[in-house]
Symmetry: C2
Subunit: 629 residues, 2 copies
């Protein structure tokens, strides 16, 4: 994704002039009654999106660092940027010496609050764009600053935009309507279900700010943000009102008008009032001005501060996960079928890729970039392909040990018969979203590489085959993925799984599998998560085995307290390379799991390869799914 992870060479951005202009803006009383002594530039957009559009890459613009996580703070004297361990090297290469890199996670690195307090003169004002900072972050920062005699102030005009002369336009791509055959539930029924949840909790209004929730609610997709089929919008839903805030030009499309019943709503309470994207603030003010004394408005605690503060405190009900986030996470039968179809097509493309790689690698012409491009090419031949679901991590040998690696021309390594190859990639199809990682060797892996691969495989299987009670939170399964690695003294420093959207964001809440005990919601049948343990040996190789798996009911021997049990069903159906396994290290149960999984790959993907007449890939699949003894 060019805006976030640019392909350009890593020379630092020159920021002297930019910082001078920003500091002028910080004193310019056009923007506020009194000058501010510091300005915070967070990473995100007004919807707290994980991936952002070029027009929202303000932190990159001001400091040059284009990683996915980082916060810049500029004072009259200093400029500092906080990021985490994944990005220390990249940030130090992309920022010039006007900037101090603040390495998060190191003991000696101060928090943003502590640093501000240490450098600011007394009674300082610290500015931030209230649209971009999340309500919970505002609260923490504001409290910390107030405790030291400073104050956090909302600066309505974004000061970066003020100095960013060639800032790109906010995208307004064509909207795609999804019918019942794709969504399984009309937007009208989703509205009705939302209102039922609101009634149950005595809530009168709900403010939707997350782009994937709005896309899901209205059964619409866009392409405003690369890899994420979403569009810029807000929605405010009351018991009799539906307000949609979006660039009105997008609603001129007859298909969209008809889909949303803009011209002839079936029932008055299902009539959508469309307003410009920018009107959300004033319109929400109007809604709040008309609230009854006991009326309550729901908004996510991670929503932007500006919108959150429009709702008077006594009427505000902040929640960690919105009812849309929870409903979206549990896929219905149509969505599950769509996800299955998408994963079969995705497997076809990967079988083709691996068969092709086997042929081409010996010629020495395949690189990390060309392999990723070829994978995209094969995927794009599949029906209803829309695009990739994230930038492919295509990494050879030592590059595989960089967990968030993305090949750049200057790091691009050639695939060979001597090194481990890790490919973590996925796509958006109109019927579903995929995300799969396979780690393979095209020559002869070393005993140590096989040993490590097998620990990771044991972890993958331990999660995938786990049976657990209904209501179990995903974080309770994380250690299953690590037990075999831990026994050998090894580990990996990332979570084991994330929620996956259905033709939506490849990362979504509210469930996941991680040692970090964030407030994940219990797993339930119909949820879809990834299972992706790994092992990374700095300077040598990286291993990750990732399937997307569906939570399904399980029927073990007993049923304690009638709670019911759950397990996982793999949606990803791409063989795991037996050559990388030390099968002596596997238990009989694990061997059975591998054989059973490969039988499913062969049956399901083999049939599709046959149907599509892709002979070479079929031969490859047949060979790669031979049972192990």
């Amino acid at each position: 994704m060019s805006s976030l992870e640019s392909d350009k060479a890593m020379s630092p951005k020159l920021t002297v002039e930019l910082l001078r202009q920003l500091r002028l803006a910080m004193k310019n009383c056009k923007y506020f009654s009194e000058p501010i002594q510091a300005y915070i530039i967070p990473s995100g957009d007004a919807h707290q999106s994980e991936y952002i559009a070029p027009c929202d890459c303000r932190r990159e613009f001001i400091c040059g660092f284009n990683g996915s996580a980082g916060t810049a703070i500029v004072t009259e004297q200093h400029a500092a940027m906080w990021t985490d361990g994944r990005y220390f090297l990249q940030a130090s290469q992309q920022m010039d010496n006007n900037w101090t890199l603040m390495k998060m996670g190191l003991k000696e690195t101060p928090s943003q609050e502590d640093w501000l307090i240490s450098v600011l003169p007394e009674n300082s004002k610290v500015g931030v764009d209230p649209w971009i900072i999340a309500a919970d972050q505002w609260k923490n920062m504001s409290k910390a600053l107030a405790g030291a005699g400073h104050s956090l102030v909302a600066v309505q005009d974004n000061l970066i935009d003020a100095v960013w002369l060639d800032r790109p336009q906010r995208p307004s791509t064509q909207l795609m309507t999804l019918g019942l055959e794709r969504t399984g539930m009309s937007w009208q029924d989703k509205i009705t279900a939302l209102r039922a949840k609101m009634r149950e909790r005595k809530i009168n209004w709900f403010v939707a700010t997350a782009l994937d929730e709005i896309a899901w609610l209205f059964n619409l997709r866009g392409s405003d943000i690369e890899y994420n089929p979403v569009f810029f919008a807000y929605s405010v839903v009351g018991m009799k009102t539906i307000r949609l805030f979006v660039d009105l030009k997008r609603l001129e499309d007859p298909a969209v008008r008809q889909h949303l019943q803009l011209d002839a709503p079936s029932r008055p309470e299902l009539s959508i009032q469309a307003s410009p994207y920018e009107a959300v603030h004033t319109e929400l003010q109007a809604v709040c001005a008309a609230l009854g004394p006991k009326d309550k408005v729901w908004i996510c605690d991670k929503a932007g501060c500006a919108l959150t503060q429009v709702i008077p405190k006594t009427h505000r009900s902040q929640i960690s996960y919105t009812p849309l986030c929870l409903a979206k996470a549990v896929k219905n039968a149509t969505e599950i079928q769509g996800m299955k179809t998408a994963h079969i097509k995705d497997a076809v493309a990967l079988c083709e890729l691996f068969a092709w790689l086997e042929k081409e690698i010996p010629k020495g012409t395949v690189t990390e970039i060309s392999s990723a491009d070829k994978a995209e090419d094969f995927r794009s031949q599949q029906k209803d392909f829309v695009g990739l679901s994230f930038p492919s991590i295509s990494s050879v040998g030592p590059n595989g040990a960089i967990i968030h690696y993305r090949p750049l021309p200057e790091t691009n390594r050639t695939l060979s018969l001597n090194e481990v190859y890790l490919l973590d990639s996925g796509a958006q199809y109109k019927d579903g979203t995929t995300d799969v990682t396979r780690t393979v060797h095209f020559g002869t892996p070393s005993a140590y590489e096989k040993e490590c691969f097998t620990y990771v495989l044991k972890g993958h299987i331990a999660v995938s085959a786990a049976i657990f009670p209904n209501g179990t939170k995903g974080h309770l399964l994380d250690s299953f993925a690590r037990a075999a690695l831990w026994e050998a003294g090894l580990d990996y420093l990332h979570g084991t799984g994330h929620g996956v959207g259905c033709f939506l964001n490849v990362h979504e809440g509210p469930c996941g599998i991680s040692y970090k005990t964030f407030a994940d919601e219990p797993l339930e049948a119909g949820m879809i998560v990834s299972d992706e343990p790994g092992y990374y040996e700095d300077g040598s190789f990286g291993i990750r085995i990732e399937n997307v798996v569906l939570v399904v009911p399980s029927k073990p021997k007993y049923n304690y307290m009638n709670r019911g049990s759950l397990t996982f069903e793999p949606l990803t159906l791409v063989p795991m390379q037996v050559k990388m396994m030390n099968t002596d290290m596997l238990t009989q149960k694990e061997r059975d799991w591998v054989n059973d999984y490969h039988r499913q790959c062969m049956e399901t993907v083999g049939a599709e390869l046959r149907r599509q007449g892709r002979k070479e890939a079929l031969d490859w699949l047949i060979r790669e799914t031979q049972p192990i003894a």
Copy 2:
């Protein structure tokens, strides 16, 4: 423990007159400027102890319910008591119909805050004893009430005490001094280490309120609270000052005076200023009045509200776990040796008990109560025995399914050859604290009982044998204990382990093994926890297998990022009944673990039984530790 779990028959306490008097007190302006409309009576004492002394059983006094957890609230019209699922039956039997039982955990049960808001007239005042309510609870309750127009007020005189005419005296038992041979570290060195931590965090004063922390700090023990070798005290430690608040009569003992160097302190900064227990409030006020503008005072966020609020907010630094709690959890070499010795003696007593039970049960004369008494009798014959560490859970057949069962005359069941027997018991010795559960059958267990026992055993072994990285939190190991049960559709509804003190409380923070992701601290070598998975079949039987285990370094094949690895070493050395195992269900690794464990029991406890000349128990041990094939 008679005050908490009385042996008296379960007839409800008559509370009409008591409630009338309490309500009079709630209007009596002797206690406050304006009458209060509700009064909260929490369970605990001013030190937030888990077990409490008879004089602190105020909630039991007012409502009759004597379980370990519950909060009573009395308004002008209503009286309600909140407790959890363990106690629904007991509470309903012990309370008369002036009380409403509030069943916590049920959807329809309101929280205390919500209930108060629903029943109180506008602008009500809700009173509570600020010494007993913890600071964090005060904060939550106060906020909720304020949001509804009410206020929480601190009532300095406890209103229960005002109507409790025959309230017992606060105990003031003789203090026991522990020398270096027991503690491994002088109290002077502990003070110095505490001050180093304070200096590191720029803290000027530390307020100790937890009784076990104070006992540990000063290497003193008492017997003010049954099962817990602690004494009522507070301590306030500054960089040059040590203040101890305790009944001054206890310091007249020459041994204690010498131990604390009261008459001839070695260095001025190690001189202890003793003051009466009750003086802590005014003395802390004096300390706070003399604070410099940047001075900070450390206090646990679970300390009583009254003492916490003495410290002005700008000087207050509240922490989840105090440095004493953290230091106490990591046992030194002397404490570890003491714990090992205590566990060997404890195993001797249990070997004797089980040998004796085998002989006696066929006669039909052994009951749950007499078996527990016999266990205590055998333990008391061991050197340095002080008392039990908690009330024995001695349960036969269906009683075993009641997790917090304690035999009462009216529930007392006879041990037989036909039912499973679960004994969870432990003792305080001057060198250490024990806690062990064994589940046995004296006839022939059913295939189902064996199956369930074996799942629990697999879970016990999975935790005990787990290897995990340094820095792992205990809650990440909880699922290991459940995996085998989950696979069969079974589970247990309690945590897997708790921290264990060294001749201190049998339950202590800050580490544990639980699916509840409380803020546990990472495990480190020297910590001691229990490993106690179980399975409970209502109306039939209960199974639990509990060892106390020591966290020790482990040396697996690799050492990822030089983090080092840990595992557990069982301190408990009592055979697990092979008769209860379905050994076909065990893997070879698990069988090896059982045989290895039994070999250790035989070697270590066998030698001690020989030394003590306890022949029958030795024969029993030899038979019970025969290797399985």
